[in-house]
Symmetry: C2
Subunit: 407 residues, 2 copies
Amino acid sequence: MTSTLPDLPADHPFGLHHLPYGVFSTSGSPDRRRVGVRVGDRVLDLAALASDARVSWSTALQQPSLNAFLAEGPATWAAARAWLQDRLTDPGHRPDVEPHLLDLHEVRLHLPVDVADYVDFYASEHHASNVGSIFRPDGDALTPNWKHLPIGYHGRSSTVVVSGTDIVRPLGQRKRPQDPAPVFGPSTRLDIEAELGFVVGGATQVGTRVPVGEAMSHVFGVALFNDWSARDIQAWEYVPLGPFLGKSFASSLAAWVTPMEALASAHVPLPTQDPTPLDYLHGTEETSYGLDITMEVRVNGTLVARPPYRTMYWSPAQMLAHLTVNGAALSDGDLFASGTTSGAEPDTRGSLLELTWNGTEPITLADRSTRTFLQDGDEVVISASAPGAGGHRIGLGEVSGRVLPAR
Amino acid sequence: MTSTLPDLPADHPFGLHHLPYGVFSTSGSPDRRRVGVRVGDRVLDLAALASDARVSWSTALQQPSLNAFLAEGPATWAAARAWLQDRLTDPGHRPDVEPHLLDLHEVRLHLPVDVADYVDFYASEHHASNVGSIFRPDGDALTPNWKHLPIGYHGRSSTVVVSGTDIVRPLGQRKRPQDPAPVFGPSTRLDIEAELGFVVGGATQVGTRVPVGEAMSHVFGVALFNDWSARDIQAWEYVPLGPFLGKSFASSLAAWVTPMEALASAHVPLPTQDPTPLDYLHGTEETSYGLDITMEVRVNGTLVARPPYRTMYWSPAQMLAHLTVNGAALSDGDLFASGTTSGAEPDTRGSLLELTWNGTEPITLADRSTRTFLQDGDEVVISASAPGAGGHRIGLGEVSGRVLPAR
């Protein structure tokens, strides 16, 4: 597959084998958000191209989020991708395409999804073990339920923001075990969590279960996700009903959503699951797989971790099957995230909590400053890449944010 | 204040002093959902009446949910209520009103709010103490944080259903401590939670705090709420990240939302809060109050509990101020619920978990059958009333649901 565009080499991280979707506007029409596709270093106004061609799904692209396109379902997602790849490889279509290509600096990127329900999982065994060892040093690292079900909880949909949004340090209550009473103030233990977010389409009705073998037909794509966490607020509030304000001030989602089809070469078998999960979580390698996505976490430009998504214990299909097994409905625009991605080695851990072992082992940045948790002004960038078709790697872009002082 | 309508006595639970809002359609136009108000035993098509009068907020009433009206904010809510009361008391307006009155049996009621973010609190000290005593008999009944902050967690917005919707018994994993491994199947410990739901309007931006003194200006009204709970699923899954599938299969919201204005006579002081909460939770009696609402819970017609909302420890204003103190945004259509309402006496407990003390003390229904948890076919109806203006009580209607067998 060779592009007709001269500036799109086959090994470009946003080449023909990738084609992630996003939502953009231009300075000329700032209020008209619509769906675009990243092609190399440019943005293709897919809403306009599809409208010109009068394809049946073009109306869904004229919306300010991907939600209407997500509602179209997997047959349309596949048809649109094939149609688009044809437009970009058939020389006869080059005159149709070129007028709709915009330079990246001409567009403003927006949150790609109007998030319906947002669930955060806890699918990394290394992460869960590290957290258990830090907070329950005398107990088992994993809770008894951990290997039987993908633990998850609902988060606050309205605080999911697009990559690049500044993150205001949250205020809240904290109390260490040795403190006599809680105090109020800016969080002193502001952290990140390097995750993947999975974008859902093909709504279901309340009372319907999605079997693990069909789960991936509801997953449109993947975007990098940073679940900012205030560890001090979280530690004081979370027993017995789980994380609340320690998480709900901001979660950042990448602007570009990589279709699952683009990751076909990145499927990998899951780690051995022992004990064998119950039947409803038991898929095949074809339907319930891991993803060979390598993430990189940078603080102020310094690479501090390379979390390997391939080490995650639970598959996206298992997470989705579990999420709906009680009859919970899926909505177009649902988002579920993996939980922190951490590998076995110390430099593959996806949170500062783990990288600094609860603040006891500071990390050193390139400017020789050290960090336990984030300081005001710090910028965190999480990027990733994965094997794509034809032996070329695809880049998943980035999710970034800078910490502003508390208000 | 006397109505011009002959069949609307001053002491009617849905009289002039109440006027709750809902969303309805008729068999003649089943797809046209719009906003109505319950007036006595009839439904006033407020969307049509306001449109005839060309009031500025009439467009917001032509929508399939209250959300657009919620976005108008408290000045419009107050103006609309005053305008409506004028229409119902001035004889000159009677000819305008009467064509838009529909019999209750002519309308179908829908979920009144397109729920944005949904948070469930845990604001009853009696409930939290009972649950603590049941599940941690050797420990403190309350967790250390309980009297310092209103504990809450996010729930699944898309599974909030309108009163009257059948509730399918959920499937899921459960494992008792003595079991060697989890099993999968229909929940055997299906329960209710008698709560109030608070409907939010006047959206805020991420990074904004709502002070406790301003919190109630974002609360449009109250509706009865039943947070159906699968205790066996919940008990196995909830450590460490909180309730998930044990709650996310269904939560029922009453069809009629009572404006906070209608409850002005129901304000009561909070129970003594000791220790004194931190400043951001510290309101005055005018801004942070309890509500003298008495609920009744019936299973298959038998009254099993009369939970007194006036005993709740945390006020709605405190819950909302806490919810946003970290900068979390409010959306029009947010819903927060109180958590189970339980009083001090055994017959005022708002869940079967408490009423049967974890299934060890079955309750007896009028047909002489006994219950620990709910059986298939059981119907639960929660109703409530409160002091209204002029010495008349207002009725908060009901939230109901019948249990269907697992699928």
